[in-house]
Amino acid sequence: MADHFVDDIEKFEAKETAHTLPVGWVILFWALILWGVYYFYMYTPSLGGWSQNSALEESLQK
């Protein structure tokens, strides 16, 4: 009666693909980190020089 309540933890995860990482996903993972480094540099005032207030001043000059 109670046995259908018990889970077989062995059946939750595939054995043969347990250590597989899809290549596309790995590329995505590292590409997003690289992009993050670029964006952080570009949009941090003390690094890339951009600031939201100076960007406004520029747009008002136009």
Binding site: Q52, N53, A55, L56, S59, L60
Partner: protein, 309 residues
Amino acid sequence: MAGELYNKPILFAVVATVVILIGTLVTMFYPMMRQEMHPKLDNLKPYTALQLAGKDIYQREGCNNCHTQTVRPLKTEVIRYGDYSKAGEFAYDRPFLWGSKRTGPDLARIGGKYPDAWHYAHHENPQSMFPKSNMPKYAFLKKAMVDPPAIEAHMKANDFPYTAADISALAGKTEMDALVAYLQSVGTAVKKKASRVVAEAGARQHEKNPLAGDAKAIALGKTLFAENCEACHGANGQGGIGPSLADDVFFGVKGDVADDDYFEVINNGIEPGMVEEGRVAKDTMPEFKALGKDKIWSLVAYIRSVQGK
């Protein structure tokens, strides 16, 4: 070793906590230790007792669900609302009331934009001024009274300076009085700047209305008047919250003024103390420079046609 983590729940919980605390420390806790997160403009004043009572009502009614209080540093936003919000404007807001959705317009620069009478009329029945507005009616605030002892406790909790007289002066004030007092204080620590964008398109001294008497401009002006001016100045400019535009009284003094004075008032709005043709303004009127030069001249043409000129 790594495998052990997944059968040691306490260790796992500790590691997970450390992992979530790293971002917390860098982006939340560390900034809190920095002066840049606690700025205060020199002329920013703590809320008065009546203003705080009004801010409490603003929070109670959830006004921040539909109205933001931060002007972004973006060109069209600065044109629409006024100078962008400064970090030092919010030191007395616990918490900030910037909001996250603009079902209604931003209110960061609402203080001093309209006369008190506008706010009373608008809160009582927004649809009387904007027929299709979706804002709820807040007429009940006119009947609800401010509770002075409660407000005193709120002033204490905020550590705002007050006197016994400030508290006793609250007796007899309605919640509407308080809310309007609060709104009139919002964003006023930043001085109004002459707009850097559209003002250049404004009228030069003694410029004649290029659209004077133009039938099409008058028709457009009539439409614009209904949308933008009627709520205060009446359907035919006969007056209401704002003064009559049909007579030849300007800034409370008899005697007509030139077209470019009208232009300037519509363009820049009115602040008490402003001087035009030697006359000193007592009232408040919002600026309409966002309409642009042609529409403002059309309005002037329409007002002139109402005056029979």
